[in-house]
Amino acid sequence: MSESVSTAEAPTRGLPPGDGEPSIWQRYGVVAVFLGPALILLGVWIVYPTIRTIIRSFFDRSGDEFVGLDNYQTLFEDDTLLTALRNNLLWLLIVPAFVTAVGLVFAVLLERVRFSTAFKVAVFMPMAISLFAAGVIWRLMYEKDPDQGTVNAAVAVVKDAVSPSGVLSAAQPSTDAMQGGPKGGLVLERVLATGDIAQLGLTGIRSSEVPGGAEQAVAPEALAGGITGVVWRDFKPGGGTAGEVEEEELGLPGVTVELRDENGRSVLETTTEADGTFAFEEVESGSYRAAIGPETFSEPYAGVSWLGASLITPAIMLSYVWVWAGFAMVVIAAGLAAIPRDLLEAARTDGATEMQVFRRVTIPLLAPVLTVVFITMLIYVLKVFDIVIAVAPGSVQDDANVIALAMWRTSFGGVNDFGLGAAIAVFLFLLVIPILAINVRRFRREV
């Protein structure tokens, strides 16, 4: 009895011993119970729809008229669909390689340290929260207004360090003594010589726009051998005289004042104090004019339009990398850990440098793992949907379009052309098959 193990036919399986020859039903009834439910579900929900979708793709939107390959033709002619194809191509070319590379870098860094769990968790965590939630998070991050969007806030900080924005948004001279505009600067017409005082009064500045730290404007004293002046808000509620520094009028700090020579070129520059005063010390004798420089009026940073038509796809790709780098890192780290230490040691004792060890020993040994990660990403990238529909606002969905999104929008998102939608689905299927076939073959070899 103990000899009759795993033979091809074992008609007594599943039956109490001692019965006669079982019937077909008894023999395979058990199998039916075990396999039946799963097979029914698979048949009804996967096999049958696949066939129906293929057939449906050859009919028009109503489903009544046979149109042959027309839908497939549309796939390659319609603008929106072509954008989807182009975008998916970009995704395929860029993202899997990028994710694998980032994962590799992280895994290598991690290998050199202990206590790596916290880092692993931080980087892997986005995988848990779904591509849709990730999309919502990044939609928030990519807001154009630097006051809201984190990415642009960071960019603004960098930009402000490099070229700060002006303190005033707009202003006009309070008297005819000054001419010009924010672009070229507001120039005081009166020619100045050393020892003169320049008064640059401005109006048209809202109280909320007066730079912080402004104090009561002060008319400065003359400076021998230099030129002094004041830039102030020449506006006294309830009257007052234009062109004169009066009480309750605030000086404007942080304003860039230029001293220009007879040719209009700026020879000296300074910034006003809290009370609006400025001073050019030790000026060579000559004729000058004072001007409020254009930098004073430079626009505050408006922010990069990540969610705009041109940058939307790269932006979404970046969010995708944020999600999947953790996957690549974990798998590659496991692969790294599996490399026998002796091989690396042997290479090192043979005199190889770290870089050589890495390139000649580690990478080739990692090749299978890197391939797994790369191919997995290829498959997922082909089907990308959630993150695109979450990050891309309605207005740029056409620009951010990808195949899976196009299929959904065409079938259920308003266009309601089931024939075309079916064709897109079949197209996606055809794209995925070769890549998955490679994967399945690898699994079969290892199973």
């Binding site: 009895m1 103990s2 036919e9 399986r13 599943g14 058990v30 199998v31 119970v33 075990f34 439910p37 799963a38 579900l41 698979l42 929900w45 996967i46 729809p49 129906r52 449906r56 860094l109 050199r112 340290v113 790596s116 916290a118 880092f119 980087v123 892997f124 965590m125 986005p126 848990a128 929260i129 779904s130 591509l131 849709f132 939630a133 919502v136 998070i137 928030l140 991050m141 809201q148 984190t150 806030a153 944020w322 996957f327 974990v330 798998v331 797994v372 997995t376 949907f385 979450a390 606002p393 899976a404 959904w408 259920f412 939608g421 079916a422 897109i424 689905a425 299927f429 399945v440 699994f443």
Partner: protein, 295 residues
């Protein structure tokens, strides 16, 4: 030179402290880079969390980082509001039912089928198994249109069972594949002994196979649960009134700036569950991942 005494489990055992410190200092740049990158990776999620705390009067106009300088901008009101918001709470409940159902059912059915493929004999068994695994290739998009019509005819459209059945079907190929490979590893003698003792296949399945298969089943369950909880595509296609949370948030996205005080807390709550599951079962997550991808 350090004296490396051969102790069990370690080679470098007695390094002078000075050498150790120098070694750690050499690694300091790596540590710094890792800490920086790790924090960078956390920023987006932290951003969402603090955005969800912003008072509804300022959200959308002020950056979430302002909370650190002006704590009064933060409030738990938004969370209170969404808990009062019926659409959101029922969506969360729907998601819970769909996720639980779509985890238990496919794993149970897959385990049954996997056992049949592993230990029951019948003609065409291996060929059929390959066909089932091959179904992994089929993208969900292929099923959407016909099932949409089918559900309309059967009255399954916009129902929780409808969603569960769809997720179950598409969860089967991978689950069957994984479990069958696992079951094959169970020692034959155990099964033979049980059969000789006269146990029915059902009994063997429930008393022997399932308990033994628990590690693989646990990994699978976690993955499936998270996958279904986070799904948008299927929910978007087959749900209207009975919406999972992903769809509920999605419909709010239309008026993104206006609805941030709903979107941010709802999104955070919806991702809190997977996060908790993730942290609780980290180990299985990684193991399951590796089992599926690397051999």
């Amino acid at each position: 030179m350090t004296t490396a005494e051969i102790e069990p489990g370690g080679v470098e055992s007695r390094e002078p402290t000075a050498t150790r410190i120098v070694r750690y200092l050499g690694k300091a740049p790596v540590y710094l880079v890792l800490v920086f990158l790790g924090l960078l990776w956390l920023v987006p999620t932290i951003g969402l969390f603090f955005t969800s705390l912003l008072d509804s009067t300022v959200v959308g106009r002020v950056g979430w980082w302002e909370i650190f300088s002006t704590p009064s901008l933060g409030t738990l009101e938004n969370y209170g509001d969404i808990l009062d918001n019926d659409a959101i709470t029922s969506a969360l409940l729907t998601t819970l039912w769909v996720s639980i159902g779509s985890t238990i059912l496919p794993i149970f059915l897959a385990a049954l089928a996997a056992y049949a493929f592993a230990w029951l004999e019948f003609p065409g068994r291996d060929w059929l198994f390959l066909v089932v695994v091959a179904l992994l290739v089929v993208p969900i998009q292929m099923a959407l249109i016909p099932i949409f019509s089918l559900y309309n005819d059967l009255g399954l459209f916009d129902t929780i069972p409808g969603l569960i059945l769809f997720h179950t079907a598409f969860g089967l190929p991978f689950a069957i594949f994984l479990l069958r490979n696992f079951f094959i590893g169970i020692p034959k003698d155990l099964l033979e002994a049980a059969r000789i003792d006269g146990a029915s296949e059902m009994r063997i399945f429930f008393r022997l196979i399932l308990p033994l298969g628990l590690p693989a089943i646990a990994s699978l369950a976690i993955f499936q649960f998270l996958w279904v909880w986070n799904d948008l595509l299927v929910a978007l296609t087959f749900a209207r009134e009975t919406q999972p949370i992903t769809v509920a948030i999605f419909s709010q996205l239309r008026q993104f700036s206006a609805n941030l005080e709903v979107i941010a807390p709802a999104a955070f709550v919806s991702l809190a569950i997977p996060l908790v599951v993730f942290f609780a079962f980290q180990r299985y997550f990684v193991e399951g991942l590796l089992a599926g991808s690397v051999k």
